[in-house]
């Protein structure tokens, strides 16, 4: 019988300092996230230097807490997995150097995980993956459609050409004077609104699975600007609903089309924006109609966490893909296959 694999995951790519222990890539033993949102709120967004400062303050505390909750001693771990990229460089290298020092101190193997692979594997902590699979990763930093033939095999079939969906949400929220982070506020307003302003749907060239949100964002900004010049008051919920309708329609449309074209057996959504109620509902009903199994991890696994990094790291460990003490934070790391 194979020995159980216990992986310590560490994630510091943006504004969450996180550590987790995952058993056999599928079972969360502990999952600790120290969020910095309160600290960045006053600036209306994540300030990279401040994020890095918080990571140094939190990193050993968070790892200790993850081990304490898991009731495991370091020598019982199989390996350490850490987010190598992409993300904020100064933030990434706190996790990477902590992971390297921890691995060195305990003479454990180290695995460098791609953040997006982590988001996709978050799903495996609740639902076994079925291949071929289509993943929609949608967050403040990413909007990507990824096709997977099997474990560790990634093909990016579509990505944003400008802003990530979450970025567009935050910018539109700011023009509506909603607090940061804006996504949940827009979602809530849109949900409560009876009416919606019609904004354009940006489909790009025919057949493309890429996304573009900056044009939509600009038309919302123009609409607000013109209304202000004419001295008209705008109902923010109508704008929120119109903006959200446009995002949801395009994202759902492209995801469904890709799922059919690639004939996948499972579709999963991940990332902070996947927690958006409007998007979730639209995707769920579309895939129910098409009878394609569709999953979204529960909220704490949608947003950035270290369990997802440990989950993806487990598969890399099983495939024998290790890092070295020379691992570095890689802000622009491409998503490449492990096989």
């Amino acid at each position: 019988m194979n020995k159980d694999i216990y992986i310590l995951g560490i994630e510091t790519s943006c504004d969450e300092t996180a550590a987790s222990v995952v058993k056999n890539g599928t079972e969360i033993i502990s999952n600790v996230v120290a969020s910095q949102i309160e600290s960045h709120k006053r600036f209306g967004g994540v300030v990279p230097e401040i994020a890095s400062r918080h990571h140094v303050e939190q990193i050993t505390l968070v790892i200790e807490e993850a081990l304490r909750l898991a009731q495991l001693e370091p020598h019982q771990l199989t390996a350490v997995a850490v987010t190598e990229g992409p993300g904020l460089v100064g933030a990434l290298l706190i996790g990477v150097n902590a992971a390297k020092a921890f691995a060195f101190a305990h003479q454990l193997p180290i695995v460098g995980v791609h953040h997006i692979a982590g988001h996709i594997y978050a799903n495996r902590l609740e639902q076994e993956m079925e291949f071929p699979l289509l993943a929609l990763v949608i967050s403040g930093g990413h909007t990507e459609l990824i096709y997977m033939k099997e474990h560790g095999d990634f093909t990016v079939i579509g990505e944003t050409r400008d802003d990530a969906a979450g970025e567009a949400y935050d910018k539109v929220a700011r023009t509506l004077n909603l607090p940061y982070p804006g996504g949940p506020h827009i979602d809530r307003l849109a949900h409560a609104s009876e009416e919606a302003i019609t904004f354009p749907r940006i489909w790009l060239e025919e057949g493309s699975y890429d996304f573009s949100f900056s044009g939509l964002k600009s038309s919302v900004l123009n609409y607000m600007h013109n209304a202000a010049q004419r001295g008209e008051t705008v109902a923010p919920e109508h704008v929120a609903a119109g903006f959200q309708n446009s995002v949801v329609e395009v994202v759902t449309g492209k995801t469904v089309r890709a799922a059919k074209e690639y004939n996948v057996r499972q579709v999963i959504a991940a990332g902070g924006v996947a927690a958006n109620k409007g998007l979730r509902k639209s995707l769920e009903s579309a895939f129910q109609e098409k009878e394609i199994p569709f999953y979204i991890p529960s909220l704490p696994l949608c947003t950035d966490n270290a369990a997802m990094i440990a989950a993806a790291g487990t598969v890399m460990y099983e495939k024998g893909i290790f890092g070295t003490m020379a691992m570095n934070g890689r802000p622009g790391m491409p998503l490449t296959s492990w096989i």
């Binding site: 890095s52 400062r53 303050e57 150097n97 902590a98 390297k100 101190a105 003490m325 020379a326 570095n328």
Partner: protein, 231 residues
């Protein structure tokens, strides 16, 4: 007792191992290579050469800053993670004091300097003998700091790899009051860091953070905006 010393606070990297007061190995380079990439492999290599395993370490000493924000964070992150993982004491030492220690014994004042762009520096002032702090480590306009030194009217020895960037201004303000560290004495030495650590209190590992000596630009702007509001 085996101390591991780590200084990544500016462009140079310095590492050392001291066993019971004997320097086993010290390695210092100034190759402007990314510390995030090189510090851990260099530690691993050095310990292998000295035949010391991680479990044999009894103390970690690290330069806490000021200096490059990213640089001090890398050193601090490695040092606190090692100290916490190995359950051994962590000692933090001013990175400017580490530089000043290169000139300990100088009969006069020692001024370590690290450039911080736009005519500013991370700078401090120490007695050459005993290394007592005369002017606290700070982020300062270089000229302003030099004018404070001038008032003291005592010989001052400047040290640090960034001395050359400010040599002209220093000469202009201080004239013959200024003296210069030799180039071999301008790099930080982790053996000196350990020596200073041995005289320092142990730090609470989880709460160990860099001494940036400067708030972030975002916070400075935010504070300014808040002041504007309260007027």
């Amino acid at each position: 007792m085996i101390y591991l010393g780590i200084d990544t606070s500016n462009s140079p990297l310095s590492l050392a191992l001291i066993e019971d007061g004997r320097v086993l190995i010290e390695e210092t380079s100034n190759l402007k290579i990314n510390h995030s990439l090189t510090a851990m492999p260099a530690i691993e290599e050095m310990m292998k050469k000295a035949k010391i395993t991680p479990a044999e370490l009894t103390h970690i000493a690290v330069a806490e800053g000021p200096g490059s924000y990213t640089g001090v964070r890398i050193g601090l992150t490695i040092a606190k993670t090692l100290a916490w993982s190995l359950k051994i004491p962590l000692h933090l030492v001013s990175s400017l004091k580490v530089l000043a220690a290169n000139e300990q014994g100088f009969e006069g004042l020692v001024c370590p300097i690290m450039d911080a762009r736009r005519g500013t520096a991370f700078i401090g002032l120490y007695e050459g003998i005993g290394l007592a702090s005369v002017l606290a480590d700070q982020h300062s306009d270089v000229k302003e700091f030099l004018l404070k030194i001038k008032e003291l009217n005592r010989p001052v020895l400047f040290t640090g790899v960034d001395v050359k960037l400010h040599e002209e201004l220093i000469t202009e303000v201080l004239g013959v009051q200024a003296q210069w560290s030799g180039v071999s004495n301008r790099l930080p030495r982790a053996s000196n860091l350990i020596m200073l650590a041995q005289k320092s209190e142990e730090s609470a590992v989880h709460h160990a953070v860099p001494e940036y000596r400067r708030i972030t630009e975002a916070e400075a702007n935010y504070n300014k905006a808040q002041e504007g509001k309260s007027l």
